[in-house]
């Protein structure tokens, strides 16, 4: 489903990604690991098309990934570090809008279920400016899970989740895999990686 080959990305004289290649099939999860600043987020941004590699290709379902393509946007649900929201819409309205726009079967049920799972029920009517960093992270995750997708891309999804939240995340990614979704995530959490990753992609020095 996802094929990354020979990905090279440099910023000035600093090469962050140097020939990264891997393949991810439907129902598989790949964990991107490496120390801070090793290029994990850059790799994920290249995969969703938010950043263009200097050389190399990213293909999804046989097609080159273009971030502006509606087909790519329909297939990929991503929660990266550049998440943004409308300042005047509440948490539940964001999720509701996202769910409707992507044609979810039962948008209201999907939204209620994810709000409950991620502990956002009490924050459902809050505007984004009032959310804590952790709540924003959970809202970004929630907006991925309320809509249909075939590739899930998550940047350190375990950050700012409590123990119960991390257990939920493991269960959720497992369910996604069973449904045939490919999952690519960057993580520092060995427990999450051991529980769900079918392959580990190491980036950075060495």
């Amino acid at each position: 489903m996802l094929t990354v080959s020979g990905l090279v990305r440099a910023f000035g004289g600093l090469t962050v990604l140097d020939g990264v290649s891997f393949t991810l099939d439907a129902g598989e999860a790949g964990a991107v690991i490496g120390p801070n600043g090793s290029g994990k987020s850059t790799l994920l941004r290249c995969v969703v098309g938010a950043d263009l590699p200097d050389t190399g290709t990213v293909r999804l379902a046989g097609r080159s990934v273009d971030e502006t393509s509606p087909a790519v946007r329909a297939m990929i649900a991503a929660a990266l570090d550049d998440v943004d929201f409308f300042p005047d819409l509440s948490v539940v309205e964001h999720l509701s809008l996202c769910s409707w726009l992507h044609g979810a079967d039962s948008p209201d049920e999907a939204v209620d279920s994810v709000l409950d799972d991620l502990g956002l029920v009490d924050a459902r009517d809050q505007l984004p400016a009032t959310l804590s960093t952790g709540q924003r992270q959970r809202l970004a995750l929630a907006s991925c899970f309320v809509r249909p997708h075939t590739l899930l891309v998550l940047d350190e999804p375990e950050q700012r989740l409590d123990t119960a939240g991390r257990a939920w995340l493991i269960e959720k990614i497992t369910v996604e895999k069973r449904a045939g979704v490919a999952v690519l995530f960057a993580s520092h959490d060995p427990e999450l990686i051991d529980a769900v990753a079918d392959q580990v992609i190491t980036v950075g020095p060495g």
Binding site: V48, A50, E67, T68, S69, P70, R73, A74, I76, A78, L80, D82, V83, D84, F85, F86, P87, D88, L89, S90, V91, V92, E93, S96, L97, C98, W100, L101, H102, P107, D108, R124, D125, Q126, L127, P128, A129, T130, S143
Partner: protein, 465 residues
């Protein structure tokens, strides 16, 4: 057994002297630089003050009214504009503080038993000086637009100065009490605009609104007493300003300075937007449904419902073309309609700006960039069309062509402003009297306004033909 020693509080003078001494040890040339800064400031103030003085002298020598139309309309306009400025200044001052302490001074101010009122007094007097000077300067500028019924320039300048002092003192008192809601200011603005609207409508339909004739001294004498009373009271409460009160506006003040220095207002508006969101906190959520365009439009309408000020500004701005029609020649009304349409409809372009700014949000919403942008342009375009149509009766000829040009031109300008790329400071720079300005920055700032300018000139020619 010895008694515990009384803690010896340092005086403000001692703290300042200690800090100055440390500064001199660190950088022996600091004093010279400070003197050069003062010299630069004095030169700048001298130039601006000279220009203002010249303006006032010219206005004093000017015999007839500068503004055309019935004298009462000019008086109404000047008075309402002055009152709006005072209310806006009060709101602005209360938003930033107005007495602030930077990060460096904050550390020792809140952690030591130093006399807080003494430390803050100099800052308070500084703000008071700036606002009183600003009020006097605005008064001086208003004299240019004076009508025969308004008092002489000296009285107007004195009134501006007093207004600056009173507004600042009120803001400091509100700061100390953690009060001073913007709601009162907003109600006042609505009332003033409604008053101006009544005056304008009355004049248009043959009723001359009465002008309350008050002798200048009746305004300035009680104003002076009030300024002294409030100014003194505000000075006395400075010691009661707590750590939250003296630091809450730092973020906005810093953003305002950076936005001004970098010519990028988005740096300030982003922070104001966040604060507004925090002020509102929770809303009554609605489920969003419908087709793709329908769902996005429903979300747009929800945002407008939560921003009633946009509708009020949209309505209030309708006054301007009618006032322009009464006070100036008919040729001027057409470009006023164009610029007014842009300002009014731009209040509804919040969704468009967010969608254009954030590629991550566009990715989350799905569809093409063009779809998302055009869908979010519908509401501002509708607002532009209706506003320009409502302003059309103020025009003098070529009504249809001018109105269509205003609506379409303003919509395109709104789109161009919303789709501005991020500021680029890396291009070659031009040396200007205002400093070195990168060429790309000028191009980005002109994106949108340049189109309005060209269309405005075209409308003047059209109206004059």
């Amino acid at each position: 057994m010895t008694a515990a020693a009384e803690p010896r509080a340092r005086t403000v003078r001692q703290v300042r002297s200690w800090l100055r001494e440390r500064g001199r040890q660190r950088d022996p040339r600091a004093v010279l630089r400070r003197l050069l800064d003062i010299y630069d400031t004095l030169i700048g103030l001298g130039i601006v003050g000279g220009m203002l003085a010249e303006t006032v002298i010219h206005a004093a020598a000017h015999q007839g009214p500068f503004l055309g139309g019935p004298a009462s309309v000019a008086e109404w306009t000047v008075l309402v504009a002055a009152a709006l400025l005072v209310v806006a200044a009060a709101n602005g001052l209360r938003t930033i503080g107005p007495v602030l302490v930077g990060r460096g001074a904050y550390t020792w101010l809140v952690s030591s038993p130093v006399d807080r009122g003494g430390v803050l007094r100099r800052r308070y007097l500084g703000v008071l000086g700036i606002t009183a000077g600003g009020g006097a300067a605005i008064g001086a500028l208003l004299t240019v637009a004076r009508s025969t019924g308004l008092p002489s320039p000296v009285w107007i300048v004195a009134t501006g100065l007093l207004a600056g002092v009173i507004v600042t003192a009120w803001a400091v008192l509100s700061q100390a009490a953690h009060a001073g809601s913007r709601r009162l200011g907003n109600y006042l603005i609505v009332a003033l605009v409604a008053l101006a609207g009544m005056g304008t409508a009355g004049t248009r339909w043959g009723w001359t609104p009465p002008v309350l004739v008050v002798p200048p001294w009746a305004l300035v004498v009680p104003g002076s007493a009030l300024a002294v009373l409030l100014g003194g009271w505000a000075g006395a409460v400075l010691g009661r300003l707590d750590r939250h009160a003296v630091t809450a506006g730092n973020e906005i003040a810093t953003a305002a300075v950076v936005a001004g220095a970098w010519l990028d207002p988005s740096l300030l508006t982003a922070i104001l937007e966040t604060r507004r969101g925090r002020r509102i906190g929770r809303v009554r959520s609605r489920r969003i449904a419908g087709g793709r365009v329908g769902a996005l439009l429903r979300a747009e309408l929800l945002r407008v419902r939560r921003r009633p000020s946009a509708v009020l500004v949209w309505c209030g701005l309708l006054l301007i073309p009618y006032l322009a029609g009464l006070m100036f020649s008919g040729v001027v009304v057409a470009p006023v309609q164009l610029f007014g349409t842009f300002l009014a409809a731009d209040r509804f372009a919040g969704g468009l700006r967010v969608v254009c700014r954030s590629s991550a949000l566009r990715f989350t919403l799905g569809g093409t960039d063009a779809d998302l942008r055009l869908t979010h342009l519908l509401l501002p375009a509708l607002a532009a069309l209706v506003w320009s149509a409502l302003a059309a009766p103020a025009l003098h000829g070529h009504v249809l062509a001018t109105t269509v040009l205003s609506a379409v031109g303003a919509t395109i300008a709104i789109y161009r402003v919303a789709t501005r790329p991020p500021m680029d400071y890396s291009s070659p720079a031009l040396a200007t009297p205002f400093g070195v300005v990168p060429i790309n920055l000028v191009r980005q700032l002109a994106r949108g306004p340049a189109l309005l300018l060209i269309l405005g000139i075209a409308q003047i020619f059209l109206a004059g033909s």
